[in-house]
Every structure is written in structure tokens, then in C-alpha cells.
């Protein structure tokens, strides 16, 4: 399997704060790579850096063998990377329909067919098609955010803590959706919920204090009590 995204020794400064101090990992096509670590470790900043929202100050990021460190965010998005932020980024005063419409590049038959397909994955959205985004429940907002990122046939999806604040039953639904999306695209997931992460993830990367600590297969992490205890506070 080919490497879709490669993050190489990336440093990011926000103002005078040195947030990422050497993050490196790879995401292989068709896999779910999970970024794990404590609060404040730099996981969200890593996704934002890939997306260009907080540009890297040094290091290299290659997507499909092309460097994307100097590219503005909207080009990165149109280049095939979708982003589902931690707070979902729903446009509250716009309806579900309008939220998705903002994301769609074209409105021809192919695009509409794609939209139909995506809505099959997230049936709730169809139900509340005309409802304001701000009035959706937490889980529905998460679905909308993912649907919006997915409707454009992105090759890579960056998803930040989708399970945050959701009831276990809703988390199940989210996981189902991610498993479905996994069949068509590559996913980099940031998760604090280790249970969820271990079930979906193929590979893991542990980040602590803005640095990569270790990467490997998810299976290995599940069996490694020491790592889990030290960096995730589990066990």
C-alpha cells in the first residue's frame, strides 16, 4: 500500500509558542491512522498544520508525493483533503442542505448522485434536511460535518475527536459511518477515546509534548500496557 500522506519533522509555532516540536508520521492509502496522546499534546494542531490553517514553520508534508507545506488552505482542500474539526464547524444559521451545498463544488448529476449516496450513510441528515445546523443534536452535527467533508470525494479525511461529548450509542453510529467511509478514502483520526480508536484504527502514532513518540500497528499498541499507561493514562 502506498503512502498517501507523509509528515516529516514538522514544527509549528503559534505566535511565540512552539507547539509542534518535531511531528513525523505516515498515513497509508486506505487505512485509518490514529493520532493519540494526552490533552494538549498537539494532535489538533497537527491536523490544522496539515490543513494549512496553522502553517508549519519547518519540516515537510507531502500528499500524493507533492509538498503541501506552502499551499494555502483552500488549495489543500480542493487538492483532496477534507477536514472535520473538533467543534464540527457547522454553520449554525444555515440549514443542513445549505451546509452541504457550501461544500459542493459542482451541482451536476454526478455530484447530486454522490450527495444521495452520502446521505444514505447519514440518514438523519436527510430527515432534518431543512433544519438549521445550529439546532441539531451533537451527534447529528458530527454526522453533518463528516458528510460535508465526504461529499467531495476527498482522498484523505482529517477527523478531529468525533466521539467527543457523544453518548456511546451515538459513538457506535459514528464508528459505523467511519468504517463505511474507510472503504473509499484514507482517514487520519484524532481520538482520546482509546476504545473507539483501537477498534477502528489500523495504525497509531503517539504524540506527546508536540513530538512524535512512537508509531506502529494498532494491534501492537493494544498489547503494549507500558505505552498505554505512560502516554494515555490507561491501565
Amino acid at each position: 500500500m502506498s503512502i498517501l500522506l507523509k509528515v516529516d519533522n514538522v514544527h509549528t509555532h503559534i505566535g511565540q509558542y512552539h507547539i509542534l516540536q518535531g511531528v513525523s508520521f505516515e498515513a497509508k492509502a486506505g487505512e485509518v491512522s490514529v493520532l493519540l496522546g494526552r490533552n494538549g499534546a498537539g494532535k489538533t494542531t497537527t491536523l490544522k498544520t496539515i490543513m494549512g490553517l496553522t502553517p508549519a514553520t519547518s519540516g515537510q508534508i507531502t500528499f500524493n508525493n507533492k509538498s503541501i507545506v506552502k499551499i494555502p488552505t483552500h488549495h489543500i482542500a480542493t487538492g483532496g483533503i477534507g477536514y472535520v474539526p473538533e467543534d464540527q464547524g457547522i454553520f449554525g444559521a444555515l440549514t443542513v442542505e445549505e451546509n452541504i451545498k457550501v461544500a459542493m463544488k459542482k451541482e451536476d448529476d454526478a455530484a447530486l448522485a454522490r450527495q444521495e449516496y452520502v446521505l444514505e450513510l447519514f440518514p438523519d441528515l436527510k430527515k432534518y434536511w431543512k433544519k438549521d445546523g445550529g439546532h441539531l443534536s451533537g451527534g447529528q452535527k458530527q454526522m453533518l460535518s463528516m458528510a460535508r467533508a465526504f461529499v467531495n470525494e476527498s482522498k484523505l479525511l482529517l477527523i478531529d475527536e468525533p466521539s467527543k461529548g457523544l453518548a456511546p450509542v451515538v459513538i457506535e453510529k459514528v464508528m459505523e459511518a467511519i468504517n463505511e467511509m474507510k472503504k473509499q478514502t484514507t482517514i487520519i483520526l484524532v481520538e482520546q477515546n482509546f476504545l473507539m480508536a483501537s477498534k477502528i484504527g489500523d495504525t497509531y502514532t503517539l504524540i506527546d509534548d508536540g513530538e512524535t513518540v512512537q508509531s506502529g500497528l494498532m494491534q501492537e499498541l493494544i498489547e503494549n500496557e507500558d505505552l498505554k499507561r505512560k502516554y494515555l493514562g490507561i491501565g
Binding site: H74, A77, A93, L94, V102, D132, A149
Partner: protein, 286 residues
């Protein structure tokens, strides 16, 4: 009764002029988080270029079109040279747009001379109608109609078109709009230029209404626009219309009944809103 109607029409007309100026300002602020203190300068340039064109071509229509064009071009220059370099830093923005306002005002004096200019009403729109005991001044009605038309057009664009959707989304969360692949900086430019065009339109419409134009009118009128933007809610397009009408009516009625307070009443309105409901009477951010 006729007094009431007169005050009403007066207030509505003034309100519409303020709305045109405030509409651009509020969209620019809502979308870009930029408070353009140079907006008044665009207004004044619209007035002067329009009046000059009218004097040269004798066509009010051409004057209006020319004024809007002037505004749009100046808007482009302003966004590229003044706004973009300091984007993100609020203090620098405030300072620099004010500085540009001064430059714009002084440039007016360079181009058109330091004196006041007289602005005449086009003959078609001059005069008034008499309906029973009520005298309705045609030009004021004209302004009110134009105001509503502009509002209608823009509401349509905002609610029914893709670009309008993007602007509304951008007001709520511009980072997300970028992450969805849209070049929000380009959208900023268009919105800014549009706002500038509206300001210039307000200027040329104002000219015959007040009869004279002078370089300082920009700053004076802009303060009213700021008040309206605050009261109506930063970023709320319909809010700016309602607030403008409110301010226009308040000013009109106050000027008649308690003239000493007429200028103060708007500032007091703004102060009250800022203290009790700083996000404005209406909000655009979802």
C-alpha cells in the same frame, strides 16, 4: 397628520441613505472582522464624482453609475493596499483605515477644490406631489424606493445564490469555509468592493438630498453608519436596514420636536445597545 407623514418620509429617506452606507460596513465587519473607518471617504467620493458627472453629462443615471464605479474601484484599491497588509491586527486596522480616510478626504479637496459644491436635484425627481393636505417630496420617495430595491436585490443574492451562501457561511466561520476549499480572501475582496460601491451610491443619492457636498461629510455620515451597524448587529444585513430606519426616524422626529437632542439621541441609542446587548439587536453569527 401631514406633519407625521412628512417626518416619516423624511426619516425613512435618511434611514435608507444610512442603510446603504451601513450595509457594506456590516457585511465587511461580519465577514472579515474589519471595521473600515475609511468607509466615509468612499461615501464622499461617490458624492463628488457623481455630482461632477451629473454636471458634465446632465444625466443623473450616468452620475449614479459613475459614482458606484468610483466606489468599486476605490474599494479595490483600499482592500489591496490598506486592509490586506494589516489583516488580523485589529489595532493596526483601526489606525490605518482612519489614516486612509484622511487621505481620501484630502484627495477630494485636491481634485475638486476645497470648497463646498452645490448639488442639484435632477428635474425628473424634483418637486413634490400633493395628496390632499399632504406634500410628498418626490426625491425622498425616490431614495426610499431605491433603498428597498437594493435591499431586495441583496437579500436575494444572499439567500438564493451560491456566492451569497458562501458569504453567509463566511460570516459564521471563515476558517471552515476555507477548509471546504473556497478562497475566502477572494470573497473578501468582492464583498469589500461591493460595500464600497454601496457607500458611493449612498453618497451620490445624498447629494441632491442635502443640496451641498463637502469633503468632511464622509466622516460625519460614517459615524451614523457605525451607530447603525452597532445597533443592528455586526454582520446582520437585515439588521442594518431595520436599525437604519430606526435611526433615521429617531433623528427625524427628534429634529422636529427636540432639536437640541437630535444628534444626541442616536449616540444614546448606540450607548444603550452597546451596554445592554453588545451583539446588536439582531445577530448574523449562527
Amino acid at each position: 397628520m401631514e406633519l407625521l407623514i412628512n417626518l416619516l418620509i423624511n426619516g425613512l429617506a435618511t434611514g435608507m441613505l444610512i442603510f446603504l452606507l451601513a450595509a457594506g460596513l456590516t457585511l465587511i465587519f461580519g465577514l472579515m472582522d474589519v471595521l473600515n473607518f475609511a468607509h466615509g471617504g468612499l461615501f464622499a467620493w461617490g458624492a463628488f464624482s457623481g455630482v461632477w458627472l451629473y454636471g458634465v453629462t446632465d444625466s443623473f443615471t450616468l452620475a449614479i453609475i459613475g459614482a458606484i464605479l468610483t466606489g468599486v474601484i476605490l474599494g479595490f484599491i483600499t482592500e489591496k493596499l490598506i486592509i490586506t497588509p494589516v489583516y488580523g491586527n485589529h489595532v493596526q486596522q483601526i489606525l490605518i483605515t482612519l489614516g486612509f480616510m484622511i487621505v481620501l478626504s484630502e484627495m477630494l479637496k485636491v481634485v475638486f477644490g476645497p470648497n463646498q459644491l452645490a448639488a442639484k436635484t435632477p428635474p425628473l425627481l424634483a418637486g413634490s406631489w400633493e395628496i390632499g393636505d399632504v406634500i410628498i417630496i418626490k426625491y425622498r420617495l425616490f431614495i426610499i424606493i431605491i433603498g428597498f430595491i437594493v435591499f431586495g436585490i441583496f437579500q436575494f443574492i444572499l439567500k438564493r445564490t451560491k456566492i451569497g451562501l458562501i458569504v453567509r457561511a463566511g460570516v459564521m466561520n471563515k476558517e471552515m469555509v476555507q477548509a471546504l476549499g473556497i478562497n475566502i480572501k477572494q470573497v473578501f475582496l468582492y464583498v469589500f468592493m461591493t460595500g464600497a460601491g454601496l457607500a458611493a451610491l449612498s453618497g451620490i443619492l445624498m447629494a441632491p438630498y442635502s443640496g451641498v457636498i463637502y469633503a468632511e461629510m464622509g466622516m460625519e455620515f460614517a459615524i451614523l453608519a457605525f451607530i447603525v451597524v452597532v445597533i443592528g448587529g455586526m454582520g446582520s444585513f437585515p439588521g442594518s436596514l431595520l436599525a437604519a430606519i430606526l435611526v433615521g426616524l429617531a433623528g427625524s422626529f427628534m429634529a422636529y420636536y427636540v432639536p437640541a437632542l437630535s444628534l444626541a439621541v442616536n449616540m444614546m441609542l448606540m450607548a444603550i445597545v452597546l451596554i445592554f446587548r453588545p451583539q446588536g439587536l439582531f445577530t448574523a453569527k449562527g
